[in-house]
């Protein structure tokens, strides 16, 4: 039978690097710096809580919004940590990771043709989720000259032609860039000026190294503008548990919950119980992992610059985004040849935007020994290019 696929899906840009991913997955003994998740296993007390929840027979659905106790804990955590006040009954929704939260926000808030501003380099799912929801994307390019940071002026100019939403992700996947409170405050003024909705993906908030992370919603007058997305995947090394949260104005969360209840029903109960344990007792491990990532960050950035791949010092997450101009080839060629000749995997910059072809994404969520070996191989690869 000839399947007629939805036009919307057919028009979605196919992932140009799927073939490259398949190549990596089919190869053995690869040192991979291409992984977008922690190399740590979830701390044992969290895993143990998940096992216990199974033993106790917690195998059912939960409330659509998520378990009340977890929502209360998140509200308590946000208040204590950031001074953010959200009502656990009506302003917090437990999602299946931030990925779901992002999709819900787009579908709940966008009408066909609504303009959405998205900075580039961009995480791979942002543009497709906006387009699936009928929104029109305006890409705001950032590059190394402005430290891969959006400027208030850029947003102001783009929003002048009418825009409904701005999507921010900080610390950023793939650049690792984050914003200080001062920089965010300047952006907030423009958000206010144009009455924008701000969808803020802050899943890497705990991995901010050089200054304190400021949630956008905590800025003066911004709470009503922001749909704040976060989760347990990166900070607690819980990617497979699939638990995130969305906070925002009552109306937005109610609309998102409507879609969530029909499509997802609820986040997995064992993940939600593990998440409660994470919030209750997980902070020491979060801090220990952060210290370890920070050491690797300093090492890898120094090492990349030493071997001629110039790289800014990222303020957060666990990614380096070095420039590969010195190798004189496209990012896809660089990644493919490095994989085939030296068995090191990383992600070509084009995956994160058409103008990112001079860059590659390196994940330093990998052991120090692996990083050292990978750097030696990249160095020898670079030497052979000359």
């Amino acid at each position: 039978m000839d399947y007629h696929i939805s036009k919307k899906v057919e028009q979605m840009a196919p992932s140009g690097i799927r073939a490259f991913f398949d190549l990596v997955l089919g190869m053995k003994d690869v040192i991979s710096l291409g992984v977008g998740e922690p190399d740590f296993v979830s701390p044992w007390h969290i895993r143990e809580k998940a096992i216990y929840s199974l033993e106790q027979g917690f195998t059912s659905y939960t409330s659509n919004k998520g378990m009340p106790q977890l929502r209360k804990q998140i509200a308590g955590f946000l208040k204590a940590r950031y001074g953010l006040r959200y009502d656990p009954e009506e302003e917090i929704l437990i999602t299946v990771g931030v990925s779901e939260g992002l999709d819900l926000a787009m579908r709940a808030l966008l009408n066909p043709g609504d303009k959405v501003l998205i900075p580039e380099p961009v995480y791979v799912s942002y543009i497709p989720t906006v387009e699936m929801a009928g929104g029109k994307v305006t890409v705001l390019k950032t590059d190394i000259s402005n430290g891969f940071k959006l400027t208030p002026d850029q947003i102001d100019k783009a929003a002048a032609h009418g825009a409904k939403m701005l999507v921010l992700n900080y610390p950023c996947n793939p650049t690792g860039v984050s914003y200080t409170k001062k920089e965010l405050t300047a952006i907030a003024k423009i958000v206010k000026k144009h009455e924008l909705i701000l969808v803020s993906d802050e899943v890497y908030d705990e991995l901010t190294y050089d200054f304190a992370h400021t949630p956008f919603a905590s800025l003066k007058g911004m709470k009503d503008h922001v749909v704040y997305l976060n989760g347990f995947s990166k900070s607690y090394a819980m990617t497979g548990f699939r638990v995130g949260w969305a906070c925002g104005p009552r109306k937005a969360i109610a609309a998102m919950t409507k879609i969530h209840q029909y499509t997802i029903l609820c986040a997995p109960i064992n993940g939600q119980m593990a998440a409660q344990e994470a919030l209750k007792n997980g902070n020491p491990q979060v801090q220990a992992m952060k210290r370890e990532y920070n050491r690797r960050r300093k090492y890898i950035i120094g090492a990349l610059n030493d071997i001629g791949l110039s790289c800014h010092l990222p303020e957060g997450a666990f990614y380096a985004f070095p420039c590969i101009k010195a190798a004189n080839m496209s990012s896809m060629d660089f990644a493919s040849q490095l994989l085939q000749k030296k068995k090191v995997a990383l992600i070509p910059g084009v995956a994160f935007g058409s103008e990112c072809d001079d860059y590659v994404r390196i994940s330093y969520a990998s052991s120090y020994e692996n990083l050292k070996e990978a750097i030696a191989r990249i160095q020898s690869f670079m030497a052979n290019q000359k």
Partner: protein, 161 residues
């Protein structure tokens, strides 16, 4: 804990040059700090954790946990008798503990006979030792925070966004 100590306590072979790259401090200042730690006894020793069960050439040594009740002495309390006990090379670990006994020892020997002999001829006859309870170790699962069994953790995909 100091960052240098955190790194070294996990892997004593990391060089000052490598620590410098990880922390952003100069090699000289790292070397100086380590020297100071060695001198004032914060860093006691650099040693290797060995899983004796996997050492092929030599049978595993016998180890026993021994609970020792002692009579403290005037002026020196437990310290004097503790020193007399932990000075025996057979005693690999010695702690003063709260509860129903006073000292908890770990004693090691080549075989059962050596360890029993040490208890019978050296430890028990001491005037201040009131009683001992010996537990021979059957299997060790974890030591110094390290699980001795080689464990397979779930594997991440080699590539993901």
């Amino acid at each position: 804990m100091d960052e240098i100590l955190e790194i070294l306590s996990n892997d004593a072979r990391v060089t000052p040059e490598e620590i410098s790259k990880m922390t952003g401090c100069s090699v000289e200042s790292i070397k100086k700090a380590i020297k100071k730690y060695e001198k004032n006894g914060v860093i006691v020793k650099y040693k290797t954790v060995i899983n004796p069960d996997l050492v092929a050439e030599k049978p595993a040594r016998v180890r026993a946990l021994i609970e020792v009740s002692i009579t403290p002495q005037k002026d020196v309390g437990f310290d004097y008798i503790a020193e007399r006990i932990y000075s025996f090379p057979e005693v690999t670990s010695c702690s003063l503990v709260s509860g129903t006994y006073d000292l908890l020892l770990i004693v090691e020997g080549d075989d059962l006979h050596t360890v029993s002999n040490f208890i019978a001829s050296k430890l028990s006859p001491m005037a201040q030792v009131r009683s001992t309870v010996t537990h021979f170790l059957l299997k060790k699962y974890k030591e110094d925070g390290l699980v001795l069994k080689k464990k397979k953790n779930g594997k991440r995909l080699n590539i993901s966004y």
